[in-house]
Amino acid sequence: MGADRLQRQSARNGWLLSLPALILLFVAAMGPLVIIVVYSFLTPGEYGNVVWEFSLDGWTGILFTRDIFDGTLGLADAHLTIFWRSVKLSILTTVATFALGFPTAWFIATRPAQQRGLWLFLITIPFWTNLLIRTFAINEVIRVEGVLNTVLLWIGVIDTPLAIIYTDTAVLIGMAYVYLPLMVLPLFAAIDRFDMRLLEAGYDLYASRWQVLRRVILPIVKPGIIAGSILVFVPSLGAYVTPRVLGGGKNMMIGNFIELQFLAGRNWPLGAALSVTLLVIVTAALLVYVKAANRGSNPHG
């Protein structure tokens, strides 16, 4: 009986506390998306925008395209190629930011308490500069006659300049750079509350470093890993400035493709349908991921 009351109270407080955020989101993020859902069922206007006539072409256009030359309906392989490229690059970016971000977050969390804020700021300070100018600066570092090659040639590590610019490696470097704080900050928030004495206990029980890392550290920082991966993976799916500047812009990412439909391509319903599809897929993936990641990892359990 008492537990039931507690449960209801918990739910009520949960909703009440979330309400301000939900209202704000409803007004300026989620609510307006209703417009996009409606637009996906309309007909494209001759010069952009929509005409208020019902049509399912936006939706069929996601998977099938009518071949413009012979009029046959075929699988839209271009769309799948673009989608797959975005997913692949986002996964790589998430892995790269984690590989760099976890040691960095750990390093910061093990500094003396009064220094941690300073180190955190050091992570975010580069991001006070504008994204475009920052991306151009990365370009400046890795281009053929750039800083990196000059330095490496000068110390004699290499004899011919590395051709990184306009390759997938360049895009990966750039994306990892841009999204690094999104991984480091949540990881730090999770590691920082971790009681280092647990490690001592682990070593006292003759656990190896690897065992301690896997059995003691990872479960406890898991919420941070989940938060960091979401913050890196999902936005990088829609990234386009970095791929364009560092990758040379020869291949579209999903964000560019949707933008094309809303701007020069003048096919708003297709753009709307693509966005809704992306929203549904990412949301489903997110729920599965969070559920799987949380399974049996309650540190108090």
């Binding site: 271009a78 040379g248 020869k250 809303f262 391509g265």
Partner: protein, 341 residues
Amino acid sequence: MKRLISATALLLATSAIAQAEGQLNLYNWGNYTSPELLEKFKAETGITVTVTDYDSNDTALAKVEAGGHGFDLVVPSANYVPIWVEKGLIVPLDLSKLPNHANIAPEWKDVTWDPGRAHTIPWQWGSTGVAVDTAIYPGDINTSAVFLEVPDELKGKINVVPEMNDIVAMATMYAGGEPCSEDPEVLKKARDLLVAAKPNWISMDYGATERLSNGDWAASVNWNGSTMRARLANNTVAYGYPKEGYPLFMDSVALLADAQNVEEAYKFLDFIMVPENAAMISAFARYANGIAGSEAFMPEDMKTAPEVVIPEEFKAAGVFLPTCTGKAQEYITAIWTELQK
């Protein structure tokens, strides 16, 4: 905190005075408006011009159509002007309020996209061609083959600006068709040309001025004004006018139907048709304007620049892109998607 609130209050207030007397809101391409021009205008009329930037015709169109933007004047490209007119977003000009209208050069007076210049006043015009570092490729540069059938010297060193309409139009003309063509045979040829050429391109990006100057790129499909700047930094860069056909563009100023500061807008439109003022516009962004007699006030290096003054023999190949139909646009987008997938 107090500072923040007062700064916010100030900023919130600025939009309120935007409709007050002596104000004008210009919605223009980024980095396209000479600050000296605005200072001079203010000195003469007391009107403060606020410039807000956009970076594509489609963005500008969508925003103005959505309403509540607060702009008075906009600067669409030639092939978009008919769309603005058809949607009723810009209004015919009252020529009696524009005594300097006579200064528009004869060849820009009666243009296909705006007969009799009833809606728009010329701002700047230019062309899309090929910029080539002639130290690396000494061959013929007045052809689209430079990027469609890339010569060995330029393989892996040439950039193509990611401007869908310009690039597909150039490929279509190279394939023997017209821009905005709906002929499947020609379009197929254009698509195949582009797809086959793409592996030889280093990138599809902006910023040619920089990278032609510093040698990162040996060539680029590029605008004339930008190429001129690159040549001033690296004198082996030359600008080619593809003989198969190359796009011309003209951005013109138009008065929005829901403009709040109409009188001020007319004063500004008349002001930019004074040759001396038009020259200031050109001196800033390095493109030609359409006002007769402005040449006299242009910077010395622009008067004879081969990028600005089109040589007689290449004049005929330049075309203003028409306003494509929805169908033609669908073809163009499909080709572009195939190219960039």
